[in-house]
């Protein structure tokens, strides 16, 4: 037992962090929200080059996976930098394309970043259906290649562009491993939410350390400190659940990670908004990019209640 990231895994996180930091993601997010995809696609390619999508793809199809721990590590960084796009959906699609036929046809391009995939379950929105190059639909008769998408609906996270997929299209497999895809989607979402929460905390700590009122930094007030201490505690106890779930990949562990990371990120978002005061409530200030994502991820790929039900079901 050594429940600790190794040096290689930590170096991977650091190099992603450096790359994403240099990419200036806030500007990319704002473009993406307006439907301007050029910079987002360029960033997508860089993320693929760093090997992120390959972690979800087996070696037989030009991936290096499946490696859920590394994937979780990567998604924490994607969340910390508010990277836009159907990241989770692309990873879930990789878990779904198990049949050799579709796997051979799509996975190599998915690993290389050539395909940007969105995925909708029955009745759900497909995130970024307008940007995706491959739109997959889980329907009662199996996994279909959707022929297109309907109009774009706004999300309360402007960076998530919600679409309905058009019915019909080619049937790829009648019996896709939907549970497996859900597992990967939840793990990636949990890790991404943890990253969103960590970024919100980091930015808020910096802000309250320099914002002066009553002649002192507001961060010296105990009511402010304690709210941030609680956010820190929630995030630090979500982190091992996310990594532990990546190690076991049991549905109950992954669901527990999803609840706790999303709740921690959301608690942190509420504190971050409050402690920034009015500036935090504006779209022009970058904090908003993380605030709105924390709320959206909370219900993506299974609400807290759905995940708690999974936890109870899995407890022997």
């Amino acid at each position: 037992m050594r429940f600790l990231l190794d040096t290689e895994q930590r170096a991977f996180a650091q190099s992603l962090d450096a790359m994403l930091g240099a990419a200036g993601t806030p500007a990319v997010v704002r473009d993406w929200s307006r439907g301007e995809q050029a910079r987002g696609r360029a960033l997508w390619s860089r993320i693929a080059e760093a090997g992120v999508f390959a972690l979800a793809v087996p070696e037989a199809y030009e991936g290096v996976g499946p490696r859920p721990v590394e994937l979780a590590v990567a998604f924490v960084e994607l969340g910390r930098h508010a990277v836009p796009g159907p990241l989770v959906e692309t990873v879930a699609a990789a878990a779904l394309l198990l049949d050799p036929g579709p796997a051979e046809r799509f996975l190599p391009a998915l690993a290389s970043g050539a395909e940007m995939v969105t995925l909708a379950r029955e009745g759900s929105y497909a995130v970024d259906g307008d940007a995706a190059t491959l739109r997959l639909a889980l329907t009662p008769d199996g996994l279909r290649l959707a022929p297109g998408h309907g109009p774009v609906h706004a999300s309360l996270d402007p960076a998530r562009r919600l679409t309905r997929l058009l019915p019909g299209g080619e049937l790829l497999t009648p019996d896709p491993p939907a549970e497996r895809a859900l597992l990967w989607a939840r793990l990636a979402t949990a890790a991404q939410a943890l990253g969103v929460g960590l970024a919100l905390l980091e930015r808020t700590v910096a802000y309250v350390g320099q914002r002066v009122q009553f002649g002192v930094p507001v961060g010296s007030f105990q009511a402010v400190k304690h709210r941030l201490a609680d956010a820190k505690i929630a995030l630090e106890f979500a982190r091992p659940l996310v990594l532990g779930a990546a190690v076991t990949m049991s549905p109950a562990d992954v669901a527990a990670a999803k609840v706790s990371a999303c709740e921690a990120a959301y608690t942190t978002a509420r504190a971050a908004l409050q402690l920034h005061g009015a500036i935090g409530y504006t779209a022009e200030y970058d904090l908003s990019l993380w605030l709105t994502k924390a709320r959206a991820l909370r219900t993506a790929w299974g609400s807290a209640d759905a995940c708690r039900t999974e936890v109870l079901r899995g407890h022997g």
Binding site: M1, R2, F3, Q222, K225, K232, E236, F237, A256
Partner: protein, 380 residues
């Protein structure tokens, strides 16, 4: 990144499980906050010690198994899963013992630890005073130099289990004229039955004498009962306070077992939907605490020092413990009020968690200032 225990650790787990299965009393012992319960728990400590299970992480020469942090965690998981009794010598084992192992003399270790392991000597912690709670450095009880030792005077309070315990360890002011309140304090052990000691039991919320006030009137303590150098008591005590909040006071095993029992209670009650989310959160919290602890233990074993992050633990487990017990009492409905369900006693005990071992307000200050780097407020 690995959650599998080594074959040797698994073998250790199996050995502990088999021993516990053969020895754990079939029903709960009477509450250890009563004279009768205290005696029963003391006897249980002796039974544990007879086969070397009362302080598994200590060196073998003092009655332990020298088995390291990870196996201690494994042992604790088995211990609580087996429904074994609460530990009457918790203060001694988790606070005084590590202090002596780090700062004591060989003579002190050899004298104190084996008798602690068997429950022959049960220890109380005498830190707090009526005027020194969160601001512990404000303490005033004195130790005055005399021939061959020291004389203690003053009063201590909220001393857990002192109503029935044998000896105590605590901080005393040996030099009243220092510039800073943290200086001039010394760490000593004393006998609760020595001449000059008066113990006044205090009833906690449910009336049981879970702690006591100590009045000390010129109580003699020989030199060999001073831990470390006189005047260095604060530093020594703080190194064990981190223990208290951190890895060793509340092991995950306890909460994993409690969450299991809560889940069983919920099933027994027909899985009421109203309780589902809270029961799920209890399961999630226990797992989070277990994995957090495994991560901390892994870092510790890899040579990292664990410092102020123990304050994260303290706030987490204390709030978790209350939420878990509240859920159980709510599931039990009117029955929950009856004090003879184990849940009621657990609930009363849990309520003190955010107060002792450093209040949660103080722990949040530590998290904010030392882990997040926020500006220090007005606190010394």
């Amino acid at each position: 990144m690995d959650l599998a225990h080594s074959p040797a650790d698994d073998a250790f787990r199996a050995e502990a499980r088999a021993w516990l299965r053969a020895h754990v009393p079939p029903g709960p012992l009477p509450s250890l906050e009563t004279a009768e319960g205290f005696a029963a728990h003391r006897a249980w400590e002796a039974e544990l010690a007879a086969d070397g299970w009362s302080a598994v992480s200590w060196p073998t020469r003092y009655g332990g198994r020298d088995c390291g942090l990870m196996r201690w965690l494994v042992f604790e998981e088995e211990y609580y899963a087996a429904g074994a009794p609460g530990r009457v010598n918790q203060n001694g084992v988790s606070l005084l013992a590590p202090t002596l192992l780090d700062h004591g003399t060989e003579e002190q270790r050899a004298r104190v630890l084996p008798a602690m392991a068997t429950g022959e000597v049960v220890w109380a912690q005498a830190w707090s005073e009526p005027e020194a709670g969160s601001d512990l450095a404000a303490l005033r009880a004195r130790a005055v130099r005399v021939d061959g030792g020291w004389r203690l005077s003053g009063s201590k309070t909220w001393s857990s289990r002192a109503a029935f315990a044998d000896r105590a360890f605590g901080l005393f002011r040996t030099d009243p004229d220092t510039e800073k309140p943290h200086q001039g304090l010394s760490y000593v052990m004393f006998d609760l039955r020595a001449p000059g000691v008066t113990v006044r039991p205090i009833g906690r919320l449910d009336g049981k004498p879970a702690f006591a006030e100590l009045f000390l009137d010129e109580v003699f303590v020989p030199d060999e009962d001073m831990i470390g150098e006189p005047g260095r008591g604060w530093r020594i005590a703080m190194s064990t306070a981190a223990n208290e909040r951190g890895l060793t006071l509340r092991s995950p095993g306890r909460f994993l077992a409690a969450a299991d029992r809560l889940h069983a209670l919920w099933l027994e009650r027909g899985s009421p939907p109203a309780g589902a989310a809270r029961v799920a959160d209890a399961l999630i919290g226990a797992r989070a605490y277990q994995l957090f602890t495994y991560a901390a233990a892994s870092r510790f074993l890899a040579g990292e020092r664990l410092g102020p992050e123990s304050s994260l633990n303290k706030v987490f487990w204390s709030e978790y413990d209350i939420a878990l017990h509240e859920t159980a009492l709510d599931l039990l409905g009117e029955e929950g009020e009856a004090a003879d369900t184990g849940w009621a006693e657990g609930y009363v005990f849990s309520l003190a968690g955010p107060i002792y071992a450093g209040t949660n307000e103080i722990q949040r200050d530590i998290v904010a200032e030392q882990l997040l780097g926020l500006p220090r407020g007005r606190r010394r």
